[in-house]
């Protein structure tokens, strides 16, 4: 499954990042590498973007961007 499908409050682990170019590099730089644990914290009031917690910090990203992150639920 992909990160945008993970429900609020659930935790997951990254399997792969399916993005090239700027988005792909940006995700890698922010720590989206296989094995990283992510907890989905909340959606914005208008549902998109989504806020997550990983590697000790909070991050928000749009659902289209989260779609590039393949995860498994923990």
């Amino acid at each position: 499954m992909t990160l945008d499908e993970v429900k609020i409050g659930q935790e997951c682990s990254i399997v792969d990042v399916q993005a090239e170019g700027a988005l792909g590099q940006r995700l890698l730089d922010m720590g989206f590498v296989p094995g990283t644990r992510i907890k989905v914290i909340r959606n914005a009031p208008l549902v998109d973007p989504v806020e997550i917690f990983m590697k000790g910090y909070f991050l928000s990203l749009r659902h289209v961007e989260a779609k590039a992150v393949e995860v498994v639920l923990l």
């Binding site: 720590g31 590498v33 914005a44 009031p45 208008l46 998109d48 973007p49 910090y57 961007e65």
Partner: protein, 680 residues
């Protein structure tokens, strides 16, 4: 860089929210100035301090998470490090976010530059239960480390000292060499060997760094290799083949493996050097965000914040401007004293032109109290971390129009509700990382309802829609936003289509209490930048507008016509006054013009006076200046030293003077007024 003898060039690098600017301010104190990196709108702050007799010049690089070539900030930071070759790089690291921050540290080390690690905000890390073994960390990374608490000024001298000693003992430092693993290392090694055959490249860049970047598929580095050597194509071919093979063999791109290895090593180092003394406490940030980003309360708090921003900056700022305006007007009148005196129907160019330009400038400077409050509030919003939440809440709305969550602040400042100003609005666009969205925002901010447009709206509504004033005002302010958003959409689909667009991915930093000095510094910096820019721009524009208004000017017939009218007015005035009036002498010939100026001055002075007391002082002053004129101005009735005086003599004059002199009223400042309306 213009490297002078005895000057040590130091770059301050670090990820966003690591407290980089606080440390930069701590290091350099007041000794700094702001410039722009060539060709871009990114601020370049340069400061300096003295250490052991050497002048250390410090450059603040843009905050970046990495050093790729995908964003403007990263390219600028990287180019500075590569081309200017600073003697020492200070890497500011958020102590409670070590793992992600080390990701950048590794890249700095890889560039072959001497790095000093500034472990910042160690107090926050301790509160969150992290115990960092600094010696061990320094040993594993192979670079010196200084712990600091930027906002409390701790660690300043130690940091300065270590920067200096690192500069002196560069050779003795052997930093960590990151191992990218068995799959990639052999390729990197052979690339490095290959590259060492290119002396021109080796002169400026570290071979290891070039090899890693080439394998990552960095387009800027590819171009660099091509430019710097004739046989660059050979290397690029080799790299392309190596990348292809790698992807085929390992089913993933080299850049993924590289990032993964960096994070793996960072994770291991953190594991070795950081102990958790207590389980992660629920931070204040968590608790605040639960409310601030809540579906229900989030938008309410956001609206309240925007409303507060308006109230404080625009409403209160206007009140402050009432106090500063007389100062500016006084300055204008002071300058006017040195210029040739005004004419009856037109002013000499040496008077009209300078005054026109000054009017233009002070009309803009009048907004300074508003800007001071506005810039201070923006700095507070930025420093607390609320800005990121604003973007988070509103991104969904703005994205649809090709804008960005961060567009909200510029648009508010430009006047989403009635009464903003485009200048701070455009200035706030710096915060938008996505270039396309930034350009689109800059272009639509001037369409908002700025303060200078309000009088026009009021005028139009008064003329055409007197009965539905409130609804029309609401309609105008709403329709402008709709039009602006539509324009943004059209722009991003057409002219701006090819501009770089960046992913949204936005860190939600922990909330911080902003420091007073930090906020004030940023506020003053921006106001000063604005004043410098605006004065030069306004001078030029005001001069051009003056020329456009006055040349070619009236043709001979019209000119004669007006002169004739002026003469007639004077004629009628004297006729009405009659021959035997006691004031014929007082107001004869050139004295009439003198009187008009006098009256004008009196009216202006009285306008500025608020209290009865002040009015009396003005009366006193003008009386002593010219008692005869004063009597005419007061139409024979006036109070002096508490005594009411009624002078019967000018009684016959009362009506005529009033109406005729009004017709022939001074035209002084005519151009100026026109100009100031044009400029804003």
């Amino acid at each position: 860089m213009n490297e002078k003898a005895g000057e040590i060039l130091v770059a301050v690098a670090g990820q966003p929210n690591s407290g980089k600017s606080t440390i930069f301010n701590l290091l350099t104190g007041a000794r700094q100035h702001v410039a722009n990196y060539p060709g871009v709108t990114i601020e370049k702050k340069i400061g300096s301090f003295y250490s052991n007799g050497d002048k250390v010049v410090v450059v603040d690089l843009p905050g970046t998470y990495s050093l790729t070539s995908y964003t403007q900030e990263e390219r600028i930071a990287r180019d500075f490090l590569l081309l200017e070759r600073p003697e020492v790089v200070v890497d500011i690291v958020d102590a409670s976010n070590l793992e992600r921050n080390l990701y950048l540290t590794f890249q700095l080390i890889e560039m072959g530059l001497p790095v000093v690690l500034d472990l910042n905000m160690v107090d926050v890390a301790k509160r969150r239960g992290f115990e960092i073994n600094i010696e061990e960390l320094s040993r594993q990374l192979g670079i010196p480390i200084v712990p600091t608490i930027g906002n409390k000024g701790r660690g300043k001298n130690e940091l300065r000292q270590i920067i200096h000693s690192t500069y002196k003992n560069k050779q003795r430092i052997t930093p960590l060499r990151l191992d990218y693993g068995g799959t990639l290392e052999p390729i990197l090694k052979s690339l490095e060997e290959e590259l060492s055959g290119y002396p021109r490249l080796m002169e400026h860049y570290s071979g290891r760094w070039l090899a890693v970047r080439l394998m990552e598929g960095d387009s800027e580095v590819q171009r660099l290799v091509q430019q710097q050597s004739q046989r660059g194509e050979d290397i690029l071919d080799k790299v392309a083949r190596a990348r292809e093979h790698f992807i085929r063999d390992h089913k993933k791109s080299p850049e993924k493996v590289i990032a993964q290895e960096r994070y793996r090593v960072a994770g291991k180092i953190v594991e070795n050097c950081v102990k958790r003394t207590k389980p992660a406490p629920k931070t204040l940030t968590d608790r605040i965000d639960k409310v601030v980003c809540n579906k229900f309360f989030g938008p309410i708090i956001l609206a309240a914040t925007i409303y507060g921003l308006y109230q404080l900056a625009i409403v209160q700022g206007y009140k402050l401007a009432e106090y500063t305006w007389p100062l500016l007007a006084g300055f204008r009148d002071f300058i006017a004293l040195f210029l040739p005196s005004q004419g009856f129907i037109s002013d000499p160019i040496l008077r009209a032109m300078p005054l026109g330009v000054i009017d233009g400038i002070i009309a803009v400077l009048n907004y300074i109290p508003i800007f001071i409050i506005l810039f201070a509030l923006i700095a507070i919003l930025e420093d607390t971390g609320y800005m990121a939440r604003m973007a988070f809440i509103l991104d969904r709305v703005f994205r649809y129009f090709g804008l960005h969550g961060h567009s909200v602040l510029p648009l508010i400042l430009g006047g989403v509700c009635v009464g903003g100003c485009a200048i701070p609005g455009v200035m706030a666009c710096r915060g938008i990382k996505d270039e396309r969205a930034r350009m689109a925002t800059i272009l639509i901010v001037p369409l908002m309802n700025c303060m200078a447009k309000i009088p026009l709206y009021v005028l139009l509504i008064g003329m055409f829609f007197a009965e539905q004033k409130a609804q029309m005002m609401f309609f105008i302010s709403t329709i402008t936003i709709i039009i602006a958003l539509a324009v943004a959409k059209i722009l991003t689909l057409t002219v701006l289509r090819k501009k770089e667009s960046a992913p949204f991915i936005l860190e939600m930093p922990a909330y911080h209490l902003p420091t007073f000095s930090g906020v004030m510094r940023r506020c003053i910096e921006r106001v000063w930048l604005f004043v410098k820019k605006i004065i030069t721009v306004v001078i030029i524009v005001a001069a051009i507008v003056y020329a456009l208004i006055n040349y070619p000017g009236l043709n001979k017939e019209r000119d004669a016509y007006y002169k004739n009218q002026a003469n007639q007015a004077i004629q009628t005035f004297y006729e009405k006054m009659g021959d035997n009036s006691p004031y014929t002498k007082v107001l004869s010939g050139s004295k009439l013009m003198e009187f008009t100026t006098y009256w004008d001055g009196y009216k202006k002075a009285r306008m500025g006076a608020k209290t009865e007391q002040a009015k009396q002082t003005i009366d006193q002053k003008f009386y002593s200046k010219n008692p005869e004129f004063f009597k005419v101005v007061k139409r024979g009735k006036y109070e002096l030293n508490g005594k009411k005086i009624v002078d019967k003599m000018p009684k016959r004059l009362r009506k005529p003077t009033g109406s005729y002199l009004k017709q022939g009223r001074s035209f002084e400042g005519k151009e100026g007024k026109k100009l100031s309306h044009q400029v804003i």
